[in-house]
Amino acid sequence: MLNPDSVGSTFAGTDSITVSQSEVDAFCAVIGEADTTIAPPTFTIRITLTQFEEILTRPEIGLDWSRLVHGDQKFEIFSPVKPGDELNCNATIESYRVAAGNEIVTVRSDLHRDSKLVVSAWSTLVVRA
């Protein structure tokens, strides 16, 4: 079970993440996108979901990642992400509830480039009962 005291907490990413051309190329290839100068709209899930897993499975927070399904996802893109971008992200646990034994947690990741917000990404994750 998620520690309810963690709701509302924001966690800073430890390192900045550099978006490489090869990872944008690989993502574009899967969806058939020819323009690899810009990351596709959902590309940053590659960064944010990894970050959410690292944070939410910490012993003091306690989410069970093995029973997790993705409930919904939203991106707001203020500036397109490009290969070579150095991004810093922080994650906030926005809400948490339990319904019919399922745990439902919404987390937001804010990705910054040069201290400017470029993408906010919300994931609602469901831990099945």
């Binding site: 993502f27 899967v30 596709p40 709209p41 959902t42 399904v69 893109i77």
Partner: protein, 131 residues
């Protein structure tokens, strides 16, 4: 001229196990429910299912194509209502359509529909693109 209420052309994407493996590598999401049938069944799924985010990435491609490039997509959201089931040695469809919901302030809002084998797989799917 794009008008509110206009229906955009349908596009069909095809998914197979190989694409799921490639998406797993490209996204970093190596959850075995998207690759290993025995594991997927053991956790109560009917078969291997596609990553919800792969479905969304393909719908994102549809949105980017409409908008004239990835750089024009400013909002994109969806709920994962049903899984896309991907049996071995089969190609399954992901059929995408959209309706223009609003045009305002230099932006176009789309209501998106995505089905696989006739089943709606995304709910509340919406995107906003720059005009």
């Amino acid at each position: 001229m794009i008008e509110v209420g206009a229906n955009l052309p349908e596009k069909v994407f095809y998914l197979d196990r190989e694409l799921l493996k490639r998406y797993a590598d490209a996204s970093g999401d190596q959850n075995p429910i998207h690759q290993n049938e025995e594991f997927a069944v053991s956790v109560g799924l009917p078969n291997v299912i596609a990553h919800g985010m792969l479905t969304m990435a393909l719908v994102g491609k549809y949105v980017s194509d409409f908008a004239g490039g990835s750089a024009k997509v400013v909002e994109f959201g969806a709920r994962f209502t049903k899984p896309v089931i991907v049996p071995a040695d089969e190609k399954v469809d992901l059929t995408v359509t959209a309706t223009v919901a609003e045009i305002a302030d230099g932006k176009i809002s789309l209501t998106l529909s995505a089905t696989s084998a006739g089943v709606k797989v995304l709910g509340m799917a919406k995107a906003v693109v720059l005009q």
